[in-house]
Subunit: 291 residues, 6 copies
């Protein structure tokens, strides 16, 4: 289903791009191995969506491969992600990029590249964490990407909607920073009480007035540990995979949604590739509900 | 609770029969070890169902042991399953056979033996997959049992109801083959939207006009990977164990249901025997709701 | 968030006390390692509850450390738990003790110590099992604590409410013993059909007329195996972690609730500390809903 | 090869007796599961010793089963071992008992029972550790059996020879206690420099003047961690399995050797049952070189 | 270092051929995954042999890929191995085939194909087991390949030398069958007492008078479990990897040695690919000592 | 045995310093966790060396803690190691530093700091690999430390002796670079044929004429994979732990030896902490043979 880019064609559907970087992570992370494992998982899935009676056979995913990382220069690695993705997205204006992290730090250069090629960008971030830490202490790590995007002026705070933020997983100052910046935050309590569909309807309505395109940043640790056992920062109190898939089906149908990344899966600690399997399933669910 | 057959008695309740065969599986599978591990799991469970305040103490399960498999002749192994089960079921007309696989290939000889001893047989198959692949390429493997039953005339397509069929887990041609043959298919979308109870009511109503007895073929991979981590083909998007148990409670109460198999658990890749524990729990749930 | 007791202060909030004992367990159990692992899990959690927008920073947990166990004299170990906790609770009348087991046998000396310092004590026990076995055969093991409390006159049977009792996990005689003694039993069927909130409202109403304070005894195996993979006696058919957290939020708001223990987690068989993470999350959820 | 005792016969060869007790261990130990796992390992071995061209088919091992342990009373469990083994050994004067631990604490009641039925007993203990700790602190644990035997007058210190004692694994006071009591100690340096055969020749010569029979107490942690990965107290600097088997072959040929125990294997932490496999191999090696 | 065959060239050095078949194994075996894992291991090794100061850069290994197996027809799978290898070896008379199993059953069709293209073939089999079981019971499994070769007249018994045969791992009748047939057997005792070099000198001398070429059949379970933890039939009492590599260096220098297989590694139970790493190391050691 | 530095005292014996950095590693490595795990391993070892009958009780190890690493700036992390160690070594001229990596990249700043405080430094490097890669491609990674030391003029090539270099683990150009620079290389073949003692005698003799002090850089992957299963780059063909300990005992007695590092252990992939246990054992073996 996934085929390598031939080096020439203009791509109409999904373009897969790997950012195999997890050295910026606060705790030891093998998320750099995710792009290759997610690709393997595709090979164990079929193209046929029986629920929608739709076959993706003729809409295969084009794979642009991985950006090569520098061994010891992390800012250079981030820069290579930015440069490469900027170039590919410019060459492929019709393509919907789906970026495979890596840890969440890769969303900073990825979204920066995405924004360069689009008008105003709105972000729907699924995450247990704000990822709004300051960058003075440790540079651009996996706790800072959205802070970096705001501070560098790539987005304004009110272009960012965070869904699934969880208790005991964030410090108050970052929540307050988000509020000051106008970030919309839906906690897990909101998910439990209002449901995914309602939250996303609100989110899309709100973004429509402010942005031209929407980018989904999916940190898999938004899921409860029972459903995503392979994230570095697993924990209880998160959403089910059914909640997430319900959200993906809805977002796929929204034409403003034009890009996505999936981050924070460490295949070396996963159980039987459950979490990368789910990531591949999310991408196919997006595709089948797209057209 | 489980006691070996004494070699003579007529058995009234459940008769356990093991088919420890998984060499026909497409991917490496230790499902051949399931019968012995499921038996161990029984020994860690009690006979008392507090929810129903009913004790199964006096309705113990009779264990007919395992069919001995041939080391290198797989068709011969299938044949031994067929011959043995035909013999036992003939000798034990009152018994409700519960067959422990093995991979799903064992359902072909098992149901063939079951049908030989009954009138028309309806099948309710819980599965993420159709298992309707053609047999030209690889013989009777774990992807073909229901194709084989239809092609060999054991059942007609409209005697088969498949529940829990999943996206990206099946090829379109097999869905189409099923439709041509009159197979009823309820996808996971149907399960999510209509609920197990409603689907099963429809299923039983539909079968009642066509068959005399119903056989449940339970491929544990119908469950979401979070609830059945030990199936060879785990994946996301499946049902919960609560969904399944709700279904089992309902089917147990239907007198037409006269047989069952439980297949596709590989204890060598399971986590702490979760999946075989659930299989044993399913059997006891069936028993307690039976009488 | 957790700080050791300074040896002097009167403690107002939660006082953590470890009872690292699991030699009384029927099957091999490393639950003795839970207190230290749960403490480690706290260090990976923040104090901020975004759902309630409340920071626990100034209500940190006071840690009284672990009771030292005897190497080979189990009754002496139980006695040390009783003596130590009696002493601490007497010195700290305002403190809400949260006791980290160990296996469930530690609830006997723990609740006995708790009761000594309070008027009449009601117990809400979350558990798949009654734990009402007789003590003639094996002394005070992890299957007997509530039998021991009743037989020793620490509580009457009608002061005990059991929630989450499960099929095929208990023998009938212990259910009958419970009924004779006036124990209230809510099975998993009750949880599924009535919901946690309703069951707990009934429970509190019922206890209010009989007791002065309520103690929660939380055996983590009340959870389904998918949500608490690290309990010695995992199994299917249990509650979700959402069910449990809903219950904890409600109980925390009830001022009569004055103590708690969390038992039966074996970190040596857990998957990525999921179960101890959940235990720490339960304690923080209790705290944040308390005040 | 191993057959259960028929309840009557006088046994000529090896009599297997299980002491499934590891609650006295200082660190968490599943050594209680060793007897059953070692028995399983026998079933994967044949009776034929090609090196000696000798078949053990007609000298099968008689299995007296396991002593049943008390759930919470450890001294009672030790006592049951002592009582049961005393009884069996008295009834079976020709039998060579091979006792399967359990942790090393079981050697105290086992050797006491052995000594009761024999004249003066010499012990050749293979171990990384002296096991001469005092019993004031924790009773009879797995660090005290030889202290207990000396203090209770079962043996004098000069009847004990320790082989394989290792650096950084023992406290000086216990070495000194051993010297005061006349215990002979061969360290791993002695093993490396003199070789197993020479050490054992010295040992036997020395014991011959003092005792009537010799008992081998084999703590598997005498082996280097690469060869016995399943011992609770694994470490580097130990002997190879070849060293040990060389010693066993030699000791088997010595008619004074009349009993043995094998202790301190925890199958729950082993790698692919390597250590229990080696234990079974040791017993067969003993048998084949015996007669 | 390993490059796929271009479909045309005549190959001078080593030709790699995979036989990914382990369904004929007596116990569950994932040895079918070995060919692909051994290939991965090559990619983590360099071409440079510093001990010999020789670079294999220009003598790369040609990879003919894997024979495709039938899903359920095991004799057909064996036949495909035979047909394919016969064809390749005929086309490539200069090539030294190195065959990657698979279980040991694949040596029967492999050596039959090898023999077809050569004059008289001598076999040096490294193995803990004779593999001389009869085929009446289970057909050509992984315990029968050398019996099959003798019975089918591919070799006479005196063309077979077995090295490393181990105690308690073989039944006497198969040893006797071997002796009757003139098979030369060197047990582990011979390896320990005479050393690998001496045994191999004897072996080569003996074969020289009887055969034209020598084929090495390397069952990795000839190694002690500490050195080959990933074999299905691991056990103690085997040789070290140093012993084996010493043997390989010697055999590589013997021009009569013209083929080899490496079998019985199950990567799914190995520890960190130790055993497949060693297999790749063996092949390179063979190459570097060859020229 | 290990006590934290009091912030004032002059240290006479061993000073432990942690460099928890493994982000410069070519493959994913958790070697950053080694310092803390090695410290835990000390706590399970005693101070008494029975082989030498010497107690280290009064020569405890002083622990200077870990250097704090930067989250995303690897050169800054290396610089912090250099600055911190330079400072500590200057303040503690009598101390023998023992540095716990981390990956081998930390030896560059560590040895640079060591050299700054000493006259000419000789290095005895135990390693399977040269670690002489160029730094153009990836900066100072774990394959370059000795190249960096030579290129930066910290040592000349003839001040470096490499022991245990292995086949198929190095590229020829780096061997040639080493020869050009006058590096002495002893391969595993040299170790097998000449023995550790002889190689080290040659090494010390050779260094004596050129340097004032000797520093041991111990990459644990010099050991065979059977003895050090927790190194990132495990493989066959290496030395035994006995070989290594023999070398350490000899080097400890040489007064010129004044510093050491131990690197390349990844506790997250080790088996039961075998490799960190061995590291702690190496340090104690060094100490006991020192004085
Ligand atoms: Ca994130
Ligand atoms: Ca996150
Ligand atoms: Ca199926
Ligand atoms: Ca299926
Ligand atoms: Ca309980
Ligand atoms: Ca329980
Ligand atoms: Ca011992
Ligand atoms: Ca010991
Ligand atoms: Ca073989
Ligand atoms: Ca073999
Ligand atoms: Ca290195
Ligand atoms: Ca290295």
């Amino acid at each position: 289903m996934v085929k390598p880019w031939d080096g020439e064609s203009k791509v109409g559907g999904i373009g897969l791009m790997g950012a195999p970087l997890s050295k910026p992570s606060i705790s030891l992370s093998g998320a750099s191995q995710s792009p290759s494992v997610i690709r393997q998982m595709f090979s164990s899935l079929s193209t046929y969506a029986i629920e929608e009676e739709k076959d993706l056979e003729n809409e295969r995913i084009t794979d642009f491969g991985d950006v090569e990382m520098h061994l010891t220069n992390i800012p250079e690695s981030h820069n290579r992600i930015y440069e490469t993705f900027t170039h590919v997205m410019k060459e492929q204006p019709e393509m919907v990029p789906v970026i495979l992290g890596g840890d969440h730090s890769i969303s900073y250069p990825s979204i920066k590249a995405f924004a360069e090629n689009k008008e105003r960008v709105g972000i729907i971030q699924f995450d247990a964490h704000h990822d709004l830490r300051n960058r003075e202490d440790g540079g651009t790590g996996n706790g800072t990407p959205f802070r970096a995007l705001i501070e560098e002026g790539v987005i304004r705070g009110d272009q960012l909607i965070q869904i699934g933020i969880r208790n005991f997983s964030n410090s108050r100052p970052y929540h307050e920073y988000g509020k000051e910046q106008g970030v919309t935050v839906f906690t897990m309590k909101d998910v439990r009480e209002q449901g995914m569909t309602e939250l996303l309807q609100k989110s899309i309505t709100q973004l429509k007035s402010k942005v031209d395109v929407i980018y989904i940043s999916l940190d898999m640790d938004v899921l409860d540990q029972a459903f995503a056992p392979g994230c570095p920062a697993i924990g209880p109190g998160g959403m089910t995979s059914d909640d997430l898939l319900e959200g993906i089906r809805m977002l796929a149908k929204e034409p403003m949604v034009q890009g996505m990344d999936i981050v924070e899966i460490d295949p070396t600690v996963d159980f039987r590739n459950m979490t990368t399997k789910l990531a591949a399933y999310v991408i196919l669910t997006f595709m089948v509900n797209r057209g």
